[in-house]
């Protein structure tokens, strides 16, 4: 079984996004970019399934600017076997929407015929939390979101999902589209020799036209602004002072 893992190049999670003064978006030039953290978890899971003998090949795929090759090299260094980059834009400021990404991924899936696609649950830039669900709908495959544990059992996937009131166990028929939650695994560190090896692994370049998919956006961004700032607070000296302030000043305790 092949596993396809879509990975997105996003602003590094440790960087605080800064809004551009013309309100057109967030500053992405000269900002540290990394693989979306959830996608790192997705890659790790795919590699573990390969190490366990369940999967035969792990293919990383990304849709974005040419520089996204770096992100794919990270996935290859972690252990993916090969990569596909669909070069869909020249501008770091253009975010290809989940619907268009899902349509491209559906085409790649049709070509590669994997048994499973593992995505991240959410891209930490647009915070959409949508692509996996959309891909599952387009393919008509089992939809398995927010997975914190997966186990392949023949044609069935046993899954634990993170939901609002705790954990939910489900079974899903294969093939399945899975989205990874934070506690699915802890991704490995990439070792230096593997970074060197990754440079030699195949990375195929494609365009949306190769797949006949129109990636033009459905949503038009009118403005991007900073959230309202909170007024500066104070430090209190003691628990007594804290409780007093909460009662008499903030009036949130009686």
């Amino acid at each position: 079984m092949k596993i396809l893992v879509p990975v997105k190049r996003v602003i590094d999670y440790s960087v605080k996004a800064r809004v551009k003064s013309d309100q057109s978006g967030v500053e992405l030039n000269n900002v540290k970019m990394s693989i979306n953290p959830f996608d790192e978890i997705a890659i790790e899971e795919a590699i573990r399934l390969k190490e366990a003998g369940t999967a035969s090949e792990v293919i990383a795929v990304s849709i974005g600017i040419e520089k996204t090759q770096e992100t794919l090299r990270t996935a290859l260094a972690m252990g993916a076997d090969r990569a596909i980059l669909i070069n869909a834009t020249d501008s770091v400021d253009v975010d290809i929407e989940p619907l268009a990404v899902a349509k491209l991924l559906a085409k790649v899936t049709a070509e590669e015929a994997p048994g499973m696609v593992i995505l991240g649950k959410q891209a930490i830039d647009n915070d959409m939390n949508a692509t996996g669900q959309m891909l599952s709908a387009l393919l008509g495959w089992s939809q398995v979101t927010y997975a914190s544990k997966i186990e392949v059992d023949g044609d069935t996937l046993n899954v634990t999902r993170e939901v609002d009131d705790g954990l939910q166990n489900i079974t899903a028929k294969m093939p399945a589209v899975v989205t990874a939650d934070l506690r699915l695994n802890e991704p490995r560190y990439v070792k230096l020799p593997n970074i060197m090896k990754a440079k030699k692994k195949p990375l195929e370049m494609k365009t949306p036209e190769d797949y006949g998919i129109d990636v033009s956006p459905r949503l038009a961004v009118q403005s991007v602004v900073e959230p309202p700032a909170r007024a500066a607070g104070i430090k209190v000296e003691s628990v007594t002072e804290l409780l007093d302030k909460l009662k008499t000043e903030a009036e949130v305790l009686s």
Binding site: E97, A130, Q133, R183, V252
Partner: protein, 308 residues
């Protein structure tokens, strides 16, 4: 054209808080029909009919909708989608699971975590963990969206809408529910509580979390946690507050032993009053705290609990 709100009903139980908040948002778009689908959901349908702003309730009472699995729910929604311009869900894990599927089947984009509605086709939503706020317009004929419940008040009681039963749509679902692992608790729900006490990695262990829980119980509060506390097994996953956990906006949020990473702030910085207890005076959490107490939590928390 009217609006379809998909109520959150799991195992026949209405999640009234999140649904009533999403209803307030949906009502800004037009007359709202509410879809109530689950097994044994007659009582939930009646509860929905009693909310103000509901035009009618469509009740699909069938075991196949029991836990709102995405496949059968999407098929059901698609069967009535042509009657609605807007299809709205609360941004819960269940709503966020179904909405993008419905959108893809309709060939439209989904608009996630809407925090304000400027017009029938213009919506405001957070991006980059809430460090930026985006206003988008859509050209799609149908608008499918999830509503950030912390941004809206609950719709009031006092409605008397009709309940119509709705035909079940056959769906050969490839996914089957097996079981839920839910910790029963008498505490208020995290997303509807007026007060929340959250613990982080600083709390140190699952046993020590009893300190956080004792303070919460004295305050009648819900208990939250940072990702680090959940990852370390100090607290269950459904307590996680943040960018990828729950979004909360209580009257009072008390962060104990939490450093204040961007991803945690994303889930709680719209709280009315924020208190931080941390032994590191430079912890970033103090930048958003109205009241900061630099102290060892193992001294301060028991003292606070005793003083209340």
């Amino acid at each position: 054209m009217s609006v379809l709100l998909v109520a959150e009903v799991l195992a026949g139980q209405l999640n009234k808080d999140s649904t009533a908040k999403a209803l307030t948002a949906a009502a800004q778009l037009g007359a709202v029909d509410v879809l109530c689908a689950s097994g044994g959901c007659g009582a939930a349908a009646d509860e929905l009919a009693a909310l103000q702003g509901v035009n009618k309730v469509l009740c699909a009472d069938d075991a196949s909708y029991e836990y709102a699995m995405a496949e059968p729910m999407a098929a059901l929604i698609l069967s009535v989608a042509d009657q609605y311009e807007h299809i709205v869900f609360p941004a819960t894990t269940s709503g966020k699971n179904i909405a993008p599927r419905v959108a893809a089947l309709l060939d439209v984009m989904v608009i996630s975590e809407v925090m304000a509605i400027n017009g029938p086709a213009e919506f405001v939503r957070p991006i980059y963990a809430g460090n930026a706020i985006q206003t988008v317009t859509t050209a799609d004929a149908k608008k499918v969206m999830t509503i950030r419940t912390a941004s809206f008040d609950s719709a009031a009681e006092g409605g008397s809408a009709a309940v119509e039963s709705m035909a079940v749509v056959a769906c050969d679902a490839p996914v089957a529910w097996v079981s839920n692992e839910v910790q029963e608790s008498d505490r208020p729900e995290l997303t509807s509580s007026d007060i929340i006490v959250s613990g982080g990695r600083g709390v140190g262990s699952e046993e020590n979390f009893a300190l956080i829980e004792a303070l919460a119980d004295k305050l009648g509060a819900a208990v939250g946690a940072s990702r680090a506390a959940v990852d370390a097994g100090f607290a269950p996953n459904d307590w996680q507050v943040g960018q990828t956990g729950k979004i909360v906006a209580p009257q009072l949020y008390v962060a104990v032993g939490i450093s204040g990473a961007i991803q945690h702030l994303a889930g709680m910085k719209d709280s009315k009053v924020i208190v931080a207890i941390n032994k590191d005076e430079d912890a970033p959490i103090f930048q958003v705290a109205d009241y900061g107490l630099v102290a060892d939590l193992f001294d301060a928390v028991p003292e606070m609990t005793a003083a209340l």
